[in-house]
Subunit: 424 residues, 2 copies
Amino acid sequence: MEFKQGDRVRIEKNGTVYEGKVMPSMEGYITIKMNSGYNAGFSMDKVKITLLENNGKNTNGGRNGGKGPKTAGEEIQKSGKKLPKVAILSTGGTIASKIDYRTGAVTSQFTADDILAAIPELREIADFKGRVISSILSENMDSESWQNLARAIVEEIEAGADGIIVTHGTDTMMYTAAALSFMIETPVPIVIVGSQRSADRPSSDNAMNAICAALVAISDIAEVSVVMHGTTSDDFCEIHRGTKVRKMHTSRRDAFKSINSRPIGIVDYNTREIKTFIDYIKRGERPLKFKPGMEPKCALVKFTPGSGPEILDHYIDSGYRGLVLEGTGLGHVSTKWIPKIRKATDAKMPVIVTSQCINGRICDRVYDTGRDMLKAGAIEGEDTLPEIALVKLMWVLGQTDEFDEAVKMLREDLSGEITKCCFK
Amino acid sequence: MEFKQGDRVRIEKNGTVYEGKVMPSMEGYITIKMNSGYNAGFSMDKVKITLLENNGKNTNGGRNGGKGPKTAGEEIQKSGKKLPKVAILSTGGTIASKIDYRTGAVTSQFTADDILAAIPELREIADFKGRVISSILSENMDSESWQNLARAIVEEIEAGADGIIVTHGTDTMMYTAAALSFMIETPVPIVIVGSQRSADRPSSDNAMNAICAALVAISDIAEVSVVMHGTTSDDFCEIHRGTKVRKMHTSRRDAFKSINSRPIGIVDYNTREIKTFIDYIKRGERPLKFKPGMEPKCALVKFTPGSGPEILDHYIDSGYRGLVLEGTGLGHVSTKWIPKIRKATDAKMPVIVTSQCINGRICDRVYDTGRDMLKAGAIEGEDTLPEIALVKLMWVLGQTDEFDEAVKMLREDLSGEITKCCFK
């Protein structure tokens, strides 16, 4: 039987009844908007569907009217068992997005409640509380968005949450993960999760990612982590440390990779078990601390051959307070840039050197160029990712106005962003 | 027997005699500077070493004086067989570098002749002609260096070279490879090779890389390629297309990877055989064409969350002629940047969008932000790497002053930098 958009239908799955209006759906799938306003998607071969209203016209099915099996909406957010309390803070992004059928583009509209409605399995893992922080695509986030989000997380932890899930667009997820890592010392897991494919695509990764995130949120991993598909199959999610993760593909579901570190661990999607690979901070090990200061006037400058050093003048003369250079190889820029590094550090602007190679460690002691960069006051970013070094710089300059103190902090591993090296 | 720095020694290996002064060497290895000024390094357990002079004092060995087996220097650059002619153009870099024992840093000093002297096996592959183009670390190269190098390559091809090897620092090798790819349509292989470890380190990759490069230079792969270690072992080199390669590690010998494409092929170091994986342009398929125009006033701007759009004003107002944006995910920047994209394209500056994800393809038709960027005139870089897109932009603007013509060229695959996509 075919259902048209606007038809009112009743869907039965595993003894639970869902009622709603048919929305545009992929072939083989049916998506309905329920009375609650929540959406739910189903594989058509796994459910029983009854037509209630033919696009506005009553049929034999009639309205459920509260009789028979209870509807999903009544069950949402509550379960009979005593479960851990997890707060879901939604910021927008594909995990909470759908296609805008007016423009054909994907827009960000759903809230934490929608996610809970669409993924009923979540209710077996924890008692959830949803909270909308923002509803923007992640490329529009900035340091103020990070601070607002961090503040909400801290409030939820103070209110007794056993774990936090942040739903986030994948584009800038790594930057937010790093910002939260520096701003919050957390006694409970803070898990950032998103989706590379929107919920109305059958290949969507949102359900598995959300379930994995929930499992990490109730685990003993009291760190800021990013939890996303580990492979292109639905076999496991990886748990990435918030300061060691990078989006490494524009569209693949396994786009997120730990760089210069193993992931903290994985969540096996079949057994629902967590396996860890490296040391991590355990639940309750640290008391909650919140240091939200952030200096937005920091820039990441990527060096390319022949590029003019005047770009550093631009930032120095525009009142910027610190710079991250994304150099070549072990951490180099043209020798023409070196006097400008000196100019910046003379102006009490820290300059951190990172590498566009992404993988590997900075070492400015091998070649003459690097040694001259160090003499000009550049700070080796070690194996910190360029993007994470920028967030670190913003946070450090939000904590102190003292140049020497800032340089000292920038050289230290503050939140897992620098891995210890065998050579030093 | 122990040898001290400054001792004069005779080393016999496979019937060839090398004489020279002992230089600082790693344990188990001996490096000598020969009369020719060339250096050679040996594993001590594989050679017979005789002390000739004890740090300036004669011993029983005496000078070879031209008697007995001929010294390596006399054999260099000539072989009895009729072999293909390969020109080695040296630009500097680690493959041609050694430690400056004054400062302890690695400097770039050796020429093509030194490479031939240090790697005698090369003489079995081809007749080599060495030519020094420059002796700079690759972070100091610019579009003028690329043009000088390209001009020398074209001269050597016109003079009858069957293949070209360019020795190059690894830091900016990918940029040079792209520049040569756009500037030269070549009937013979142009192979760029370097080394991640300097020649006086036992783990140096320079010999294997140089031998693999020589094998590709005499092959039928008439493209600009980068030939470097494929793994951390000495098993094979990969042959990367010059517009699809990226340095992906600061120090590993297998730092170079083909991105968004398979490598053209590999060179098996044991069998010396080449195996190819994808289509490539064959020797003689194209006549030689040289279009050296390059516009240096182009910039690569990496977007980060909250970063101010004024950076685009800086480039627009400073007389730049084109921009590459390194956006997030499928190719996004903050919506605050979109009016500045419009400002740039209104000023007839092409703006290409690429992704900091590195892997994957730009698609600005999925989300509202991307669609608005396209409306503002941005060009999707497809699966072109950000760094390669910059070089392409520089080259295209060196070919034409017409904005519409430039945009048309930028949308096309000019030299393998855009892989065709199934969806379009």
